[in-house]
Assembly symmetry: C2
């Protein structure tokens, strides 16, 4: 069998998976990645590798439990790598994989959309609340 190019592989996957379907694994993956903490972690790591403590500081208000679980899921899904260096205290660095970078661009756009369109959404909410 001829080796598939990355593009052929993605085209093939596009035919096999459909997130509209409840039982499709891509529905669960969409649920995993359509998440504000995933967006903020990937956007933050797009600037370069970071330590756990840097991420915790940048993602103001995130709980340790939520950040740890988010990072573990992203590592398992192949979106980032986790490197432990034996120092005192132990140093843990996170870095995007190429797969994580490709998703990070999309989610970075989503973060920017929320910031740039906040005034439009605010006005829409005021109009809605006056009407109802």
């Amino acid at each position: 069998m001829a080796t598939q190019t990355a593009q052929q592989r993605r085209d093939d996957a596009k035919l096999r998976f459909d997130a509209y379907l409840a039982g499709c694994p891509s529905r669960r993956l969409l649920d995993r990645i359509a998440d504000k903490w995933v967006a903020l972690v990937l956007k933050s790591l797009a600037a370069g590798p970071q330590r756990y403590s840097d991420l915790a500081r940048q993602l103001a208000g995130v709980s340790q439990k939520m950040l740890t679980q988010t990072l573990r899921n992203l590592e398992r899904d192949g979106l980032l790598t986790r490197t432990v260096t034996a120092e005192v205290p132990v140093r843990v660095d996170y870095e995007l994989t190429p797969l994580g970078s490709s998703l990070g661009q999309l989610l970075g756009d989503l973060k920017s959309w929320a910031e740039e369109h906040m005034p439009d959404v605010d006005e829409a909410r005021q109009r809605y609340d006056r009407r109802t």
Copy 2:
């Protein structure tokens, strides 16, 4: 004061809002839009206006409560319009606004990403589970 262009308005908002900050309203907006049901609704409406029953069919497995709440939030945020026609039974149509279209493109890309990269993520999960 000179009227701002849409682009100036977005640039200005980009400086005022920052979803990394816990108290910023754009953090809550990001939380609202980074959601699989929002992604599937907006992607579905990108093809044209639809009735409630069409959406319920396309988004397999969505509960009535979740779909109704998602649609109401999207209407309040100015991303879609809801039109009620007095027929028997009453007919309700949903249609994207220009604001909803702009977000729908980003979220449609996210759905496609999940489908196209499902094999990569699957392989990464298998590697991770063998290691741990």
